[in-house]
């Protein structure tokens, strides 16, 4: 198939009853500026790590926001924390802090 640089995702179902929303709530509490995110994708567009790999910070924090934590913890490790995303964010989301907190929260949740 021709590679257009994007693909249509398969249909999937989010079981709202099974979602662990407390982690999302915790993230909002730790980094309140995340509430302002409009998922515009400026962060992913400027990302240095994105130039090398399919690391996509918008996808990751959107997944987190939807309580779809699977694979997020591992994927987040590709971030170099350079701070370009924070500087370009039009909504003033503190992305560096957000990434560190996502990693922390997921680490603690998976440890238990």
């Amino acid at each position: 198939m021709t590679n257009f640089g994007f693909k249509i995702s398969n249909t999937r179902v989010i079981h709202l009853d099974e979602c662990k929303m407390e982690l999302v709530r915790k993230l909002y509490k730790e980094e309140p500026s995340f509430k302002r995110c409009i998922s515009c994708g400026a962060c992913a567009a400027t990302c240095s790590a994105r130039q090398f790999t399919d690391f996509n910070i918008r996808k990751l924090h959107t997944l987190f926001r939807r309580a779809q934590y699977e694979g997020v913890q591992q994927a987040l490790k590709a971030c170099m924390l350079c701070g370009k995303c924070t500087l370009v964010c039009p909504r003033g989301v503190n992305l560096r802090s957000l990434i560190i907190h996502m990693r922390k929260i997921l680490f603690e949740a998976n440890k238990k």
């Binding site: 500026s33 400027t46 090398f52 170099m80 701070g83 370009k84 500087l87 560096r96 560190i100």
Partner: protein, 591 residues
């Protein structure tokens, strides 16, 4: 011996014994915490000539408090009168005792000299010594009075905000403040009875009724001894532990010891050497512009020392280095801050497999240009630098043109040292493989990282240094403009790496450079520094505005800086033109 003993000596004696024992125990424990490198350095240098320069520095800094004097005369006078004055009281007292008493005598004789030696003509120049001791006591007392005034009205001493001390520190401070008035009182009573005082104690003594003095002499000396004893016992656990520790720290530093990646014995010495003078508070942008309290270095170090550090406080620091530049003790505050940011389990290995395949470009005879992540967001800077390279026919390899590996400093600052070292390893490998002989970077953050955290075999330059070299050697010719500009010193370039002159020389050859209130090591942080992950954008903006107001107060035509981040911060908020120094040079090159 019994001639020189009275029961009131006991509190003092117990205090001294406790003080010495506790200090020795603490110092030995911290010595054991030194790592191997530190121990080797210590043993290697302990008998070198550095000993002398350490003594010199001790006299200037620990006794005379030169750095505090430079800051504010009254503040310096207050600190030095108590430190130097008390030291002289002990020293001259010992000399006086030595002259007055032949043969063995207990060490406390000098402390309670007037009580034990009543003869005003005990030796040839006894009267002179009595006056001298009174003069020194007056010197110390003036410092204590100033200290009291400072606690009420600190602005007189150039301090807007003074430190908020824990109860125990305040208790210790009062016992210290009591020592000298009590000494004056007891010596005056004795002078009433035996006429053995100097101008001060005798003058006061003559005003006191003989019977009153007779009754109160012993209680006064007892209280004096108690004040001393209390202070000595409390000292090792309070902020006054800095009195001895600061001296030891000066010696350790002269012997080549420094902070390490991890907490070591040296950190323990530094923690105790902090006198909690509070000079860092006024200078911290987080207090100055945001009124945040409790996050400044003084409180951070205190919490660490009493083993109750809060993670949020460790993270809440811009790492602008301002407090470090102002610290009169010269503590390595940024390293201690970073040690506490250690991310432990989060800091994992091999996260960056994706950079493994990156290949170096054969750049023998070329310059490696590393723009840095942030410069990619200010393409003007990159464009200007490439233009300058072309202009002087310098071949270059634009290392991070399409694929940017971060220098690792942002990770390292946040405590991810393993992850940062992975990035450093790859960058080092690429630079070494390229065969280039010089690295030029446009970002002060990368610059400091390459300079200090990397161990590169080639020369590393920030573009200000590079351009300055070109202009100086005549390779690059620039025309003089009639612009009036102000220069903003980026934290990482100025206080971080000490580059103040190169950018100023360049600007002087192109424009008219206006002096600003906060320049060089007093430069204000633009607020966007990567060091802090806690404060919000709104708070960053406040810090930025304060820095910008200071720059705009001179009504310049142009704000010039040398950091993509500072440029971006200012550019967003002002109608005044903001440019990087490279862009200005590019526009004024003579073609």
């Amino acid at each position: 011996m019994s001639n020189y003993f009275s029961p009131f000596v006991l509190p003092f004696l117990i205090g001294v014994i406790a003080l010495i024992t506790i200090c020795i125990i603490k110092y030995i424990r911290w010595y054991k915490q030194f790592n191997r490198v530190q121990k080797t350095l210590l043993l290697k240098n302990i008998l070198s000539w550095k000993f002398l320069s350490a003594i010199w520095e001790t006299v200037w800094e620990a006794l005379f408090h030169r750095k505090v004097f430079k800051r504010n005369f009254l503040l310096g006078y207050m600190h030095s009168s108590i430190a130097l004055g008390w030291f002289l009281l002990i020293l001259v007292g010992a000399v006086e005792t030595e002259l007055a008493v032949n043969g063995p005598k207990p060490f406390w004789t000098g402390i309670f000299y007037r009580y034990f030696i009543h003869d005003p003509q005990a030796f040839k120049h006894a009267a002179f010594f009595a006056h001298l001791m009174d003069f020194i006591l007056l010197y110390v007392l003036s410092g204590v009075i100033l200290a009291y005034i400072k606690s009420i009205y600190s602005r007189l001493f150039g301090m807007k905000k003074t430190s908020k001390h824990v109860v125990f520190d305040r208790f210790t401070k009062f016992s210290l403040w009591l020592i000298f008035p009590l000494r004056l009182l007891s010596e005056s009573f004795t002078a009433t009875l035996y006429n053995n005082g100097g101008f001060l104690t005798q003058g006061l003594g003559d005003m006191i009724n003989y019977t009153v003095a007779d009754v109160l002499e012993i209680p006064a000396w007892t209280l004096y001894s108690f004040a001393l004893g209390t202070f000595f016992v409390a000292m090792p656990f309070s902020r006054y532990m800095h009195i001895f520790t600061e001296v030891i720290l000066i010696f350790l530093r002269k012997w080549g010891l420094s902070e390490n990646e991890q907490v070591s014995g040296f950190t323990m010495y530094e923690l105790s050497a902090c006198s909690r003078c509070g000079i860092c508070i006024d200078n911290c942008p987080l207090y100055k512009d945001l009124q945040l309290q409790g996050v400044q270095s003084i409180y951070f170090l205190r919490d660490l020392r009493y083993k109750r550090p809060k993670e949020e406080i460790a993270d809440n620091c811009l790492m602008c280095n301002r407090c470090m530049a102002e610290c009169p003790v010269g503590l390595d505050l940024m390293t201690i801050r970073r040690q506490m940011r250690n991310k432990k389990e989060l800091d994992t290995e091999s996260n960056y497999k994706y950079i493994d395949n990156l290949q170096a470009f054969n750049s023998i005879g070329r310059v490696v240009y590393f723009a840095g992540c942030m410069s990619h967001l200010t393409p003007g800077i990159v464009d200007a630098m490439l233009n300058i390279f072309d202009k002087v026919n310098q071949k270059y390899w634009f290392m991070d043109k399409d694929k940017t590996i971060c220098c690792g400093r942002p990770l390292w600052q946040q405590g991810f040292s393993i992850q940062a070292s992975e990035l450093r390893r790859k960058n080092t490998q690429l630079i070494k493989q390229s065969g280039a002989n010089m690295l030029v970077t446009s970002c002060p953050i990368c610059y400091q990282s390459f300079k200090k955290e990397y161990n590169l075999p080639i020369q590393v330059m920030h573009h200000t240094e590079y351009i300055h070299g070109l202009i100086k050697s005549g390779q690059l010719k620039v025309r003089k403009d009639d612009l009036k500009v102000v220069y903003h010193d980026p934290c990482e370039l100025g206080r971080g790496c000490g580059i103040y002159q190169a950018p100023r020389q360049i600007l002087k050859s192109i424009t008219t450079l206006l002096k600003t209130k906060n320049e060089k090591d007093k430069s204000l942080c633009c607020g966007y520094n990567l060091g802090n992950t806690v404060i919000s954008l709104e708070q960053q903006t406040k810090i930025r505005n304060a820095a910008m107001d200071s720059l705009l107060s001179k009504h310049p035509d142009l704000i010039v800086t040398a950091c993509p981040m500072c440029k971006k911060a200012f550019k967003r908020a002002t109608d005044c033109n903001v440019k990087d120094i490279a862009e200005l040079v590019k526009e004024n090159m003579i073609l």
